[in-house]
Symmetry: C2
Subunit: 348 residues, 2 copies
């Protein structure tokens, strides 16, 4: 039988239909490459120069309110604009382009400059979940918006430009590449089986219990069988709903608990503020049928073997195929071993 | 008409069929995020601790010969192994995997520890091109090898684990994800038009002359209309050949010249050793028909606005869609302005 922890192999990502390459024997390789700078982790509760702290001025001069939990505003440097005129371009069917409309928002998770999700109380995280739900609902009221990406870049090595805990929402007029892939896979599975792909996948993972990290009333956290990043995980709702709009109060609190537990486990692996990009994948809006879509949230953390050595998705990965060294099962074992109390709160 | 330098828009990548998002108006955004460490650029010609320098010992104890130009060997920490047994795994059509066989090699470009491609003579680069061609030919003699990825990771921010100038070759038993995409696009175009996609694309680019960086007897360098990375480029052969195997002596020297000129222009942009991942895309081998395949080489450099500020392909990009700020036309203009004499040679 295929020996996952010894033999190089590839695994199929059910959500994209694409394969990833696993090289389990390569973990022993010495590292002489780049070591990341650790940004000092002793931020003040309030930073007068931070454009996200309460009461401070932003790029356009607007002052933030003295907000008490989370706070949302239009990104002062939005990648997409709401007033872009519809237009397209086609030269000999070789140069093909079209304009894209959108709305980009920033969500501050907390008035406190020094916190991160794993250091916040469940109630505070639940306020963020509430805001996500509200924003998703409001944005989808614009008929022209077809897809809403809710995400967070955490840590400077993930391109986060400000350590104040915050996330982003990009809502846009067409369906992005990754969503097209996931839609095709989920829809074809649903048509064939009349159950969502993730419903059946999660049932199987729960039965096997080899890659499950969290399992509570309403959510499951799993290291996907096809994870590409070393400690990649996915939160999946037990109920097969197409978007966050469907979550009940109870589910929202459970999602907050799940987020807290997962991110605490992450921080505890290397006793560091664990960087990642994370985001929800949800059904497109205002585009008819949402069949097959099952809400889930991906976590893509880059760290590999320490707080300062990350996995590089470079040459071979960019040109040919994503590749990983430690297996998803090894990563799951490490995540399961972690305590659910944050390493910093024990130091106090 | 669509205003490429003002309106947010998306462009179609003809080789993958996927779109990229362009936000030209966003270039003005301030940067407070991560700034890269510049590795000191004053390496000795010979480093006694480098496993690539002539005469030195490698991880397994083997000693490198006293080589005079380029030198190739099996990667001591290969991600793929030649003796992996064929096997596959399928649980309920949800957990799907199969073993992958392969051969991973390392190519030292020069005995000199302190050089990089742009600092080497054309004759020395031509020796590397020769070796690539020979290796491609030799590796494809293994019936079980279906695809050969020749690439280079340059610079520590691109995951390069040793500054000694070198590249890699991963040859493997199945076709990687990106190659599948490019094959589908190139083949369908060829069937319809009886010319390769890149033949027609390059003709149009030469006619427009807005994104062409180098144009010599046998090669063209273009910033693709659909470039995702800030200074992404592509070298395309004027002759529509499926792989490096077909290149004549004259073409190989011309490729060496092209590589030298392109990488010198890169280094001159920020007067720094310009990091990138680069690699050739060529027809699969031992898999029948190579119709539609047209040799080309991608350069994916991460730097955006200075030697220390790079573009992060993170949250939105990983979860939804690749995104860029400066337009391909702006990048092309900057690349065209550069001198073709290396900034360091002028200092001497
Ligand atoms: O040069 P190395 O150490 O083999 O490794 C580098 O290139 C490989 C192929 O792109 C990647 O898988 C590694 O993440 C990267 O660090
Ligand atoms: O808007 P920010 O946080 O400065 O920008 C960050 O997230 C964006 C969305 O993933 C990326 O396009 C940027 O490259 C990254 O630096």
């Amino acid at each position: 039988m295929l020996n996952f922890s010894e033999q190089p192999h590839k695994r199929k990502n059910l959500l994209t239909g694409e394969y990833i390459l696993v090289s389990p024997h390569r973990s022993k390789r010495p590292w002489q490459g780049q070591v990341e700078d650790l940004a000092p982790d002793d931020r003040p509760q309030y930073d007068p120069k931070c454009y996200l702290c309460p009461g401070n001025a932003r790029a356009d001069g607007t002052r933030n309110p003295e907000y008490k939990d989370s706070f949302v505003f239009i990104n002062d440097f939005s990648a997409l604009l709401a007033d872009t005129a519809l237009d397209s371009f086609d030269e000999e069917n070789l140069l093909i382009a079209e304009t894209e409309r959108g709305i980009c928002k920033v969500i501050s998770f907390s008035p406190r400059h020094d916190l991160t999700l794993p250091e916040m109380e469940v109630g505070e995280i639940a306020a963020v979940v509430d805001l996500w739900q509200r924003e998703f609902g409001d944005l989808s009221k614009h008929e022209w918006i077809k897809y809403i990406q809710i995400f967070e870049n955490k840590g400077s090595i993930m391109g986060c430009s400000n350590p104040h805990p915050h996330g982003q929402i990009w809502a846009q007029s067409s369906i992005p590449v990754e969503i097209n892939k996931e839609e095709a896979q989920q829809l074809s599975y649903f048509k064939k089986n009349n159950r969502t792909l993730l419903q059946d996948y999660i049932s199987l993972e729960l039965k096997k219990d080899e890659r499950i990290i969290v399992d509570n009333a309403h959510f499951v956290v799993v290291v996907p069988f096809w994870a590409a990043w070393p400690y990649e995980t996915m939160i999946v709702s037990k109920r097969a709903v197409p978007s966050i709009l469907e979550f009940t109060e109870e589910e929202k609190v459970d999602l907050a608990k799940t987020l807290q537990e997962l991110t605490i486990r992450y921080d505890n692996i290397f006793a560091t503020s664990f960087p990642y990009s994370a985001g929800m994948h949800q059904a497109p809006v205002n585009s008819g049928d949402q069949a097959g879509w099952h809400w889930h949230m991906h976590f893509y953390p880059p760290l590999l073997r320490s707080a300062t050595v990350k996995k590089f998705m470079v040459g071979y990965e960019m040109l040919a195929n994503p590749q990983r060294d430690i297996t998803p099962e090894q990563a799951a074992a490490t995540l399961k071993q972690q305590e659910t109390v944050h390493y910093k709160s024990k130091k106090r």
